[in-house]
C-alpha cells in the first residue's frame, strides 16, 4: 500500500498508514458503529470456545501451511501461521508480519522489515525464517501451490540484511511485489521446520493443541501474538463435507460457525432469528471461458456476440439463487484497480445476431463444458444454453468429471464454465492472461498485452499504474475471452452468540475465516 513514498517520508508515512489500518481493525472488532461486522454490537468479550465447520479434505488433510489447498486448509493455516502481508477487502496487500516494505527506483529490489513477533515457542520471527519459508515453497522438487506466486523473487540472490530485515532481489521490476508477500499459501514457518502434523509451530494468533485429519483441529489462544491475543480461548475446526450436515450442526448448536452454505439455505434462515447469515460479497467470479485461439471464438465478433447473449441477472437469479451480483466481463468487481467506469453490459440479442451474421457464424453450434465442480455450474450452463438459443446459437452442454475438470478445460474444448476465488486483479492478469501464464484458459496471448503488464509492473506511480491497468481492462472488456457474468456471495452461518465476524471480506482475504477478532457473547 505504501510502496512509493519519498525516502525521507517513508517511515513516517508508513507508520501513519499502518496505525490507520490498526485503528480500522479496532473499529472492526469493536463493531459498535461499523456496519462491516455481523451482529457486532456490544463490547468484545473474552473467553469461550468456538467450533467452526468447514468442508475439508478428509483423512489426507495436513497442517503444512504450504500445502494449503482447500478453504479449510487456509482457515487452519491462518490461525496457526502468519504471512508477511495479506489481502484487504479490496484485495490490496496489507502488512502483517512485514512492518513495512520499500523498493528501489527500478522496483526490482525490495527491502522488507519485519515487525517484532514471536513464534509459539517464544523464538523471534527473523529474516532467516522468512527466507527458509520462501525457499521451501520454491523448492523445485516440491510442487507447492505458492511457488508460481513467488516466481518473481530471485531467492538465491535475496538475503537477510539484519535480524528483521530482508532484501528481496527480483528477476524483473514488480510494482505489485506486496501481492507476492500476501500470496495464497505463502506462510512463514520457523527455519528448518519440515514436520507440521505433530506439533506445528507458527507465529499466528492460535497455538496448536490437537489435530485429527478429516475430523478436528483444536487450537488455543496465543497470548503473545503481535496483533493482540485473540478474544476466544479456543477454536476447533471440524470437517463436514455435506452442506446439510453443516447447517444441521449449526441449527442443533453443535457448531457456532458454518462455512460455505447454499443460497437456498441462507434464504430459508435469514432473518428468522435462529442463526445469523453472513454474506461475503464479491467472493467468487462466475464466468464462461471462451478459447480465443480457435474457432469460433478466434473471431472477436463472436466473442462480443456471446457477451451480448448473456442475461446476467437471469444467470445470477437462476444459477446463484440470487446470491450475488452481475458482472461486466471484468474480473475483480470492487477490488483495487477495477475499471468501474465501463458501462454495464446488458443482453442485446439483435446486436448479437447481427454480429454473428457478420462473422459468418449463423446457426453456430458450440459445446459448453461444465461439471458439478462448483455450485451453480450446471445450472448456469443450462440457463446460458437457453439464452443462446434465442440468438440462434445451439449450445450442447457436456458434463465432465469434477475431480479433473480444471485440468480438462485448460487446453481442451472451446467454451467452458469457469470461476475464480478472490485475488488481486494484477494476479488474475499475470496467472491467466499473459502469453506465458500457467493457467491461461482463454488462450489470451498477445505480445502488446504482455507489454502493458510489464509496463504496469515497472511503473512506480500508482495513478499511472492504475491507468495502465485500465487500458488492459478496456481491451478485455471489448474483446477478452472471459464472459464474466457474476460475482457470487460467499455465505456463512453463525450462531447468534458469535460476534465480530467481518462481512466486508471476500473469501481468501485476511478477514475471511479469521477468528482472532471474533468473540462469543
Amino acid at each position: 500500500m505504501n510502496d512509493e513514498r519519498f525516502p525521507g517520508l517513508r517511515r513516517r508515512g508508513f507508520l501513519a498508514a499502518t496505525s490507520g489500518a490498526a485503528a480500522l481493525a479496532l473499529v472492526g472488532c469493536g463493531g459498535g458503529t461499523d456496519d462491516s461486522t455481523a451482529g457486532g454490537s456490544g463490547t468484545p468479550k473474552r473467553g469461550g470456545r468456538l467450533r467452526a465447520a468447514f468442508a475439508g479434505g478428509g483423512a489426507s488433510e495436513t497442517l503444512d501451511p504450504h500445502l494449503a489447498n482447500l478453504f479449510a486448509d487456509v482457515a487452519r493455516a491462518k490461525a496457526l501461521f502468519d504471512k508477511l502481508a495479506d489481502y484487504g477487502a479490496d484485495l490490496s496487500a496489507q502488512p502483517r508480519l512485514a512492518e513495512k516494505w520499500e523498493s528501489n527506483k527500478t522496483l526490482n529490489r525490495w527491502q522488507v522489515t519485519l515487525r517484532q513477533a514471536t513464534f509459539h515457542d517464544g523464538k523471534p520471527v527473523t529474516a532467516k525464517d522468512v527466507l527458509y519459508s520462501y525457499r521451501r515453497i520454491a523448492d523445485p522438487k516440491q510442487a507447492f501451490r505458492a511457488k508460481a506466486s513467488l516466481e518473481p523473487i530471485d531467492l538465491d540472490a535475496s538475503r537477510a540484511t539484519g535480524e528483521r530485515s530482508i532484501e528481496f532481489v527480483l528477476k524483473r521490476p514488480t510494482a505489485e511485489f506486496p501481492n507476492v508477500l500476501a500470496a495464497f499459501g505463502a506462510y512463514i514457518v520457523p527455519e528448518n521446520a519440515t514436520e507440521f502434523d505433530k506439533k506445528p509451530i507458527g507465529s499466528g494468533p492460535f497455538r496448536f493443541v490437537s489435530f485429527a485429519p478429516g475430523r478436528s483441529a483444536v487450537f488455543r489462544r496465543y497470548d503473545d501474538h503481535w496483533d493482540g491475543a485473540p478474544l476466544l480461548d479456543e477454536i476447533e475446526f471440524v470437517v463436514a463435507n455435506e452442506e446439510s450436515a453443516r447447517v444441521n450442526a449449526l441449527l442443533g448448536g453443535q457448531v457456532e460457525y458454518a462455512h460455505e452454505l447454499n443460497p437456498t439455505t441462507a434464504r430459508a434462515h435469514e432473518g428468522k432469528g435462529q442463526i445469523d447469515i453472513v454474506r461475503l460479497r464479491n467472493s467468487a467470479m462466475q464466468a464462461f471461458c471462451m478459447k480465443t485461439d480457435r474457432a469460433p471464438f478466434d473471431d472477436k465478433r463472436v466473442r462480443e456476440a456471446f457477451f451480448l447473449i448473456a442475461d446476467r441477472q437471469e444467470l445470477v437469479d437462476g444459477a446463484l439463487s440470487g446470491a450475488g451480483e452481475v458482472g461486466n466481463d471484468l474480473f475483480g468487481k470492487g477490488y483495487e484497480y477495477y475499471a468501474a467506469d465501463l458501462p454495464q453490459r446488458a443482453q442485446d440479442l439483435d446486436k448479437a445476431r447481427s454480429l454473428l451474421k457478420k462473422a459468418g457464424a449463423e446457426k453456430l453450434k458450440v459445446t459448453l463444458d461444465t461439471s458439478a465442480v462448483a455450485a451453480g455450474f450446471t445450472e448456469a450452463a443450462g440457463i446460458f444454453r437457453d439464452q443462446a438459443a434465442k440468438a440462434g446459437v445451439t449450445i450442447d452442454v457436456k458434463m465432465g468429471s469434477k475431480d479433473s475438470y480444471w485440468s480438462d478445460i485448460l487446453d481442451n474444448g472451446t467454451l467452458s464454465c469457469y470461476r475464480s476465488g478472490a485475488m488481486p486483479i494484477e494476479a488474475h492478469l499475470s496467472q491467466r492472461l499473459l502469453t506465458d501464464s500457467t493457467t491461461n484458459a482463454t488462450k489470451w496471448q498477445h505480445k502488446d498485452f504482455d507489454a502493458l503488464y510489464q509496463q504496469a509492473q515497472a511503473t512506480r506511480d500508482k495513478t499511472e499504474r492504475a491507468a495502465v491497468y485500465e487500458r488492459m481492462q478496456r481491451r478485455l472488456y471489448a474483446e477478452g475471452g472471459f464472459l464474466i457474468w457474476g460475482f457470487a456471495d460467499w455465505i456463512i452461518g453463525t450462531a447468534r452468540t458469535v460476534k465480530g465476524v467481518e462481512t466486508k471480506a471476500p473469501a481468501n482475504t485476511l478477514d475471511w475465516a479469521r477468528f482472532d477478532k471474533v468473540w462469543l457473547a
Binding site: G58, A59, R215, V238, G252, W406, S407
Partner: protein, 317 residues
C-alpha cells in the same frame, strides 16, 4: 467332516481369487477415471508444470503395471503402502476409518437381530391377522424409504424440531462412544431397511415351516406350540435369514456413505469416497482388499451357519 473341510478350503481359495480380481478391477477402474492424483491435487490451479512435478513426486510417471506390481509386492509383506496425497500409511487410513464403522455396525447388528427376528416371528404367529398386517405393512412402507430421505426426516423431526437428539456427530469423530446420543439417529437409519427385509424373510420362512407336514405332525403328537415354533419351525426360517444377515453386515462394514455423510461420521465409506475423488490409488486398493476379504469371510461364515441349521439343504459351492 472332511467334506466340510474341503468345502471351506475351496471357498477360501475362491475367496482369495475373488479378492485379487476385485483389487485388479478396482485398480483398472481407478486408472480409467479421467485425471490422476496429481490432477486432482492441482485442483483449480492446473498449471501443467506443477502437475508434472506432482506426478514425479508421486512416482505417477511410472507405468501403471509397475506401480501395481510394487504395491502387490508390498502387500505380500503386509505393507499396504502410503497415500499419494498425504504420504501417510494406508493402514492408518483403514484403522482410523474402521473404528466408527465397526462401532456403528456392532450397534446396528445388536439391535437388528432381536428386532428382525422378533418382528418376523410375531408376524408369523399371527399370520393373516391384524398384528401380521400391521407389521407387514409398516415394514414394507419403511423399506420403501431411501436411507437419506429417512435420515433427513429423522434429523428434522427428532433433532431440529424436538431437539431430543444431536443432529450430527460433528466433532465427536475421535470419540463417538463418549457421545451415545449422537449415535441414535445413524443407528436408526441403518436399522430401518435391514429390519424390514430380515423380518419379512423370517416371517416367510416360519409361515412355510408352520404349514409344513412335519410341523402339523409334531402338533398331532402333542408337542407344545412354543416348541414347534422355536425348535422346529424357526431354524428352518433361519437359513435364508442368516445369509441376508451376512450381506447386511458386509454392507455395514464397508461403510454406508449416505449415513456417514449425513451425520458426519468419518468411517470407511468417507475414506473411500475421498480417496476416489483424490485418485489416491493406494488407499482405494487397500480398501478394496479389506472389503474383498470381509465379503469373502462373512459369506463363508454365513454358509457354514446355514449348513449347520439345515444340513439337508446341502451346500452349493
Amino acid at each position: 467332516m472332511s467334506g466340510l473341510r474341503s468345502f471351506v478350503a475351496r471357498r477360501l481359495l475362491l475367496g482369495v481369487a475373488q479378492t485379487i480380481a476385485v483389487v485388479l478391477l478396482v485398480f483398472a477402474l481407478t486408472e480409467a477415471l479421467p485425471g490422476d492424483a496429481a490432477v486432482a491435487l492441482a485442483g483449480d490451479q492446473p498449471d501443467p508444470a506443477r502437475i508434472a512435478a506432482i506426478r514425479e513426486a508421486m512416482d505417477l510417471d511410472r507405468p501403471a503395471y509397475e506401480r501395481l506390481a510394487d504395491w502387490a509386492f508390498g502387500l505380500l509383506h503386509g505393507d499396504f503402502g502410503t497415500s499419494l496425497t498425504s504420504g501417510r500409511p494406508v493402514t492408518q487410513y483403514i484403522v482410523d476409518g474402521f473404528g466408527p464403522t465397526l462401532l456403528l455396525a456392532t450397534l446396528t447388528l445388536a439391535l437388528l437381530v432381536p428386532l428382525g427376528f422378533g418382528l418376523g416371528v410375531l408376524a408369523a404367529r399371527h399370520e393373516g391377522r391384524l398384528v401380521d398386517r400391521l407389521v407387514s405393512s409398516v415394514t414394507l412402507a419403511v423399506y420403501a424409504v431411501p436411507e437419506f430421505a429417512l435420515g433427513v426426516l429423522l434429523v428434522l423431526v427428532l433433532a431440529l424440531k424436538l431437539a431430543w437428539l444431536p443432529p450430527t456427530a460433528l466433532g465427536y469423530g475421535t470419540d463417538l462412544l463418549a457421545h451415545p446420543a449422537a449415535l441414535v439417529l445413524p443407528v436408526l437409519v441403518l436399522l430401518s431397511r435391514p429390519v424390514c427385509s430380515l423380518s419379512r424373510l423370517v416371517r416367510a420362512g416360519m409361515v412355510d415351516a408352520l404349514a409344513s407336514p412335519y410341523a402339523a405332525h409334531a402338533r398331532r403328537y402333542g408337542v407344545p406350540g412354543a416348541r414347534v415354533r422355536y425348535a422346529h419351525a424357526l431354524p428352518n426360517a433361519l437359513a435364508p435369514a442368516v445369509q441376508q444377515l451376512a450381506r447386511t453386515v458386509d454392507w455395514l462394514l464397508c461403510g454406508v456413505i449416505v449415513v456417514e455423510a449425513l451425520f458426519v461420521i468419518p468411517g470407511l465409506g468417507t475414506v473411500l469416497l475421498n480417496a476416489v475423488a483424490e485418485r489416491d490409488v493406494p488407499v482405494v486398493q487397500g480398501l478394496a482388499v479389506v472389503f474383498g476379504v470381509l465379503a469373502v469371510v462373512l459369506n463363508l461364515g454365513a454358509d457354514l451357519v446355514a449348513h449347520r441349521l439345515t444340513p439337508r439343504a446341502g451346500v452349493a459351492a
